[in-house]
């Protein structure tokens, strides 16, 4: 087994009464580009700040590069580079000064070896005062500072949210470059295509807990493939989300039922069969959907009886109506699927 660059077990973080992290188990192997996905407020940034020793865990264990992130923060920082999600620079410093200062504070020599190349690639004017930079330009400065000198671990918190598509491709090239060198990357992101393109492994966090983890292939296997064909309506098959429009049928199939479904389709002479493997987006939306349900349930409890009716109306049919209405008895409810898969993945 490869070395684990990041490993947490049962990590807890409470802010007053809010449980931000709730038994988080995150593992990132040496050399992996690890996608860290989750809806807003799920605890991504909190996790990262605990890993960097800015916040102190309320419970559980965390190791980064084999060290304790709270006690050995400075030793970890010597080998890690970090790009925060919301970069605020010193208004009086120029971009170039900010880059060199961060480089030196990280314990490297400035100008860093790749600084000039990156400034060129990211098309940055380093002589402007930081106050006059746009969000994207501020992000570029943090990215250049992170990538200009070598690190063993790169932690990036939604680093491309302000970049244009051209710059995003520069960013992706940099990730590949450091990954080829053998560095480890933890990439928190909302941009699923980016994660699909860059990441070898993925963890999905929800409510301060990892609900899915593994390689992209593993995760895809665990999820339903969408099957569409022209032919007779399905009978007695373990399908979910079935929709029948005349001859056109669409449904989703769990991986383990695929042989059975394919045999049936062959037997019945189904035509124009397409099988679409699950995208990360579908995988992710599944959790967003759950999140929405969890949220509304919480809101309901919090508001008490007074608004119970309204909330019930608001999220009832739309959020989970399709499954509730269409799913045959054989298909497990999506919450069960998640649970099972979560355990598998871990």
């Amino acid at each position: 087994m490869a070395d684990r660059v990041i490993e947490t077990s049962g990590l807890d973080k409470r802010f007053g009464r809010v449980q931000a992290l709730d038994g988080l188990d995150l593992v990132v192997e040496q050399g992996a580009v690890h996608g860290f996905l989750g809806p807003n407020g799920a605890g991504k940034s909190t996790t990262i700040r605990v890993l960097l020793g800015m916040l102190r865990a309320s419970g559980g264990e965390a190791r980064v590069l084999g060290m304790d992130p709270w006690r050995d923060a400075v030793a970890i920082h010597r080998r890690a580079a970090y790009v925060p999600g919301d970069v605020t620079l010193w208004p009086g410093l120029t971009g170039g000064e900010a880059i060199d200062t961060i480089t030196r504070l990280r314990g490297h020599r400035a100008p860093a070896s790749d600084r000039a190349r990156l400034i060129e690639a990211f098309d940055l004017d380093p002589r402007r005062r930081s106050k006059t930079y746009s969000k994207g330009n501020r992000q570029k400065i943090a990215l250049i500072a992170a990538f200009a000198s070598e690190a063993d671990l790169y932690i990036l918190d939604e680093p491309t949210s302000g970049l244009d598509p051209l710059m995003e491709s520069v960013f992706q090239a940099e990730i590949r470059r450091v990954a080829d060198r053998g560095a480890t990357v933890l990439l928190s992101s909302h941009i699923l295509s980016e994660v699909e393109r860059l990441c070898s492994t993925v963890s999905i966090i929800r409510d301060g807990r990892i609900v899915e983890a593994g390689t992209l292939e593993q995760l895809r296997h665990l999820h339903h493939t969408v099957v569409a064909y022209r032919g007779p309506a399905p009978e007695g098959l373990p399908l979910a989300d079935v929709s029948v429009d005349g001859e056109h049928v669409r449904a989703s199939v769990a991986a383990e039922h695929m042989p059975e479904v394919l045999r049936w389709l062959g037997d019945r002479g189904a035509q124009a069969v397409t099988l679409t493997p699950p995208s990360l987006e579908e995988l992710f939306l599944r959790h967003y959907g759950d999140e929405a349900r969890v949220d509304s349930a919480r809101a309901e409890r919090a508001k008490g009886q007074r608004h119970a009716d309204e909330t019930g109306l608001a999220d009832g049919p739309d959020a989970d109506g399709s499954e509730a209405a269409d799913a045959p008895a054989v298909a497990p409810s999506s919450a069960d699927v998640d649970d099972v898969h979560g355990r598998h993945a871990r």
């Binding site: 800015m54 920082h77 970090y82 208004p91 120029t94 990280r106 400035a110 002589r127 005062r129």
Partner: protein, 545 residues
Amino acid sequence: MTGTGLLLVAALRRDRLHVVLWVLAVAGMWSAVLGGLGAAFDEESRRGLVALLAAQPGLMLLRGAPAGTGLGAVMFVSTFAYLAVMVAFMMTFFAVRHSRGDEDAGRAELVRGTAVGRWAPLVSTLLAGAIELAVVCGVTLAASLALGLDALGSALMAAALAGVGVVAMLVGLLAGQVFPTSRAANGAASIVVGLWFFVRGIGDALGEPSADLTRVESAWPIWLSPIGWGAQAHPFADEPWEPDGTPLLLFVPAVLLLGALVVALEARRELGRSLLAERRGRGAGTALLGWHPGGAPLGLTGRLQRAASLAWLVVGAGIGAIAGRLAPVISEALAENPALGRIVETLGAEGGGDTEGLFLTALAGVIGVVASAAGMQAVLRLRHEEQAHGELVLATTVRRTGWLGSHLLLGALASLAVLAAFTIVTGASLAAGGEERWEQLWRIALTHLPLVAVYLAVGAALVAFLPSTVAWLGWVLLIGLLLVGDFAPLLGEAWEWLENLSPFHWLANPLADDPDWTGSWWLLAIAAALLAAAAARFRARDALV
């Protein structure tokens, strides 16, 4: 102007706590001193107090020139300058917060993207400022009426405070238009307010006392300061003088001029732009900027504090220049006025009869506050740095204690530089006139070191323990305890405990032949304990990112 009403309501809502605090500070101080003075001082002791003031230019520089011995007159001379400075700060901070501050934070952009007219933000800010100012001045007026002061005088004083406030608000708006950051704008506006206070002080200190030492005719510099215009209305003057609102008319052209300037600039200015534009700078950072020995980012902190420390240094040198020029003038005036001379001799027991020494010590008290403020400001800056840039800085090899240490060290250096600048400028200026007071001056500076240490430690403790309230609490502790030290004696013996709370009370007397240093050592010990606790806490708590 579309949307002015909505913005006005939003501004007032946002400021409600500020208004309450300022009302408590301004009206509260006025009523507390009024109640205390009324109870503790009869006509005769007030006469003594006024004579003392008239005989001591140093005291007049800090307080004002007396215009009679009635309760209102004594009240006015002992508090008006401070009340006016408070109101002025309230309004400059208000103006910067609602103009440059909003632009810095991006709120202005958000607001201007909605259906509000081009002039709505400025107009609503002016209106909100006027309303908040009216509340503070109105409550002050009500307090003086309720405590039985003359109606005309009370109204004149409230009008004077309002005039200072409006001028200060416009100065704050101008500063916001001229300077690119709210920090710089606040600094510049504060320097203007400080100048108002000192220019008025110079006018009063150089004033001509009457033969019976019940009133002092201020010298011409007083007309250069809006606070001076208010003071010259003499709202509670006794016979033969009369309250006279004419000087307050000076506020009208001042407001019109400044207002026109603000409007003209605003009409030309684009969102987020400033008159002093940000120039392009170096494309690379120097090694000094990234210097961080032992995990203390001294280079970065030094760069961030450079402008503020220089400003404090200039303030220190400026006060030194005032002291050096005024001290000889004042002893000459004293030699020519036998009545003054007698008063000073009767005071002799306290200060050794050394008027010039007393004058220098009074000014050095101000320098002690400025030096403490310079140090504490540098330490309190860490809170902003932590919130704004903590994620960048704390992901490097910077150690938390090193970070705190870099702010403490540079704060201490700024404080020492302020004290040194005052001492050197004053001493050199006196020496040029053939007078050597170096030893006394250095001793005056030395007695203020414990104060500086206490406020450095207070700043560190606030950053470590109360990071969310720290911005204003530190200044309340500095200015509040200064005022307590200054005013508690006026409140009578029952309030001695309050005076004892103030660190200013425990400083050694530099004019004494054998100063008592016990209090100074205690202050240093308290500072050390606070610092140790702060360092431990700052290391152990979650970063505020």
